[in-house]
Symmetry: C2
Subunit: 287 residues, 2 copies
């Protein structure tokens, strides 16, 4: 049984992801506290035994008692929170996060951070189409990937600690990428696919088609139920990489359109064969 | 327990869909024969008790003994087959099909058909990413839609017969659309989504990303494994409707791209909220 040091853990931001982290860590025997925006969130999480305790404000004592702090905030408020409250961190504390984009977060925080604490960034690629602490569910980690994104400033000890955290949370696969590699990858695999799903739902009023919808369409648009506050921020903070991926996709889609318009059957078949061949690498899911 | 008249059933074309029809109908007690291109297909289906018997040629006696004929052929060969072999149909025989597009098939066949037999078209919206009689599986019908596409030439009796067929095969929902409504709907729900999945796989060499792939991407590209022979034909034969749907989608996708490029967060959120709202109609699947 693996174990991580830093057993007094504070979660900052108690939504779906923060709550799911808390649930998993508390079950493993760690002491888990939380800071949330609203007192009701803390009350709910305490009543449902998701956390041991918490507060609706950045209390110096609560922050100072944590060996490790996990940030599950929107990217826009995350950097400010650290700037405003870092004087309270316990010396030697380990900080990590769950943010879905990395370049715009990691360097800023490492730049402004006190030298006696360390921030090692991670992205748990898990989620649901619902949010809020009430939907916390640590089973979402079990078939998901966990990516640690260190920079040159990070120590090998912190990288190892963060990988251990991913493993004890139950992620299927733990890997390491640079913040730049991460953001390009997430632009393609996650953000582009969300753009596509949204465009598919908004391009025409298709509600009358619900009776004829098969599994393919449902699968393709499952992610079209999207938390607009969070995702618009993630898109904007990864704008360059996402625009690049969108243009690649749109260009390819247009090529397929031209093949169809020209009734170039062999050209269409060529695309379909390449697609089938590439998709085979992704299937079946390695579980 | 529902029952359909025409209990001696011939399946023409014994692939995944023809085989799955045969499997379900034989299990219900109908006498099921088949005509396939290759003798091995017939041998396999007989050995695995999918059919009662069959031949690898359009045998006049076999055709003439069927009360009902179900065509599970590619659209390109379907019309020719009927033209070449219709002299053998039993007077009063009922014909139906499984073709995924309707306008280019239904009118041509009804136009050339002997007046003493009737063709009532249907589209079982079920499938798999694999094909061939060896993959026959009538469970694919259970969560799927079945659409009857009658024209003015069809009798109410034939429409009822065809709806009964869909119900006894075990489809979740049986409905009726005109061939034109059907092709527009299928252009959006099925063909456009396949184009998107293919473009997503072919727009860049993404095999190195397999390690980071989550369920969203897998769901979105499941249909990127595509039977290029069949789908290229379905695309071309529904070209006008599919191009229309592709242009609608591409225009909307481009709008989202422009909102992102302009950093118009409120505009992005607006699209995401509309998407979320529309997607709610499609979820959960009415089972």
């Amino acid at each position: 049984m693996e174990w991580i040091s830093k057993s007094n853990i504070l979660i900052v931001g108690l939504g779906l992801m923060g709550g799911s982290y808390a649930m998993a860590l508390r079950r493993l025997g760690y002491h888990v506290t939380a800071i949330a925006r609203r007192q009701e969130t803390i009350d709910y999480a305490v009543a449902h035994e998701i956390i041991d305790g918490g507060l609706a404000e950045p209390d110096p004592e609560l922050i100072g008692s944590a060996d490790a702090v996990i940030f599950a905030l929107y990217p826009g408020v995350f950097v400010d929170w650290v700037r405003d409250n870092q004087q309270h961190f316990k010396p030697g504390a380990m900080l990590t996060d769950v943010t879905g984009i990395k370049r715009c977060i990691v360097y800023d925080i490492q730049e402004l951070l006190r030298p006696d604490v360390e921030f090692i960034a991670a992205h748990p690629m898990a989620g649901k189409e619902v949010y809020g602490v009430e939907n916390s569910d640590d089973r979402i980690f079990h078939n998901a990937n966990y990516i640690v994104t260190p920079t040159k400033r990070n120590t090998p000890q912190a990288v190892e600690w963060c990988k251990s955290l991913g493993r004890i949370l139950g992620f299927r696969k733990v890997s390491v990428l640079s913040p730049e590699e991460h953001d390009e990858m997430i632009g393609f695999l996650s953000q582009l696919t969300h753009c596509i799903a949204v465009a598919l739902m908004t391009c025409s009023d298709n509600r009358h088609l619900v009776d004829y919808t098969g599994d393919s369409f449902r699968d393709l648009t499952r992610i079209a139920r999207i938390n607009d506050g969070m995702w618009s921020e993630l898109f904007l903070k990864n704008k360059d990489a996402l625009l690049r991926q969108m243009d690649l996709f749109a260009g390819e889609f247009q090529q397929i359109r031209e093949l169809l318009a020209a009734e170039d059957r062999e050209g269409l078949r060529e695309k379909m064969r390449l697609s089938t061949q590439r998709r085979a690498y992704f299937n079946p899911a390695p579980r």
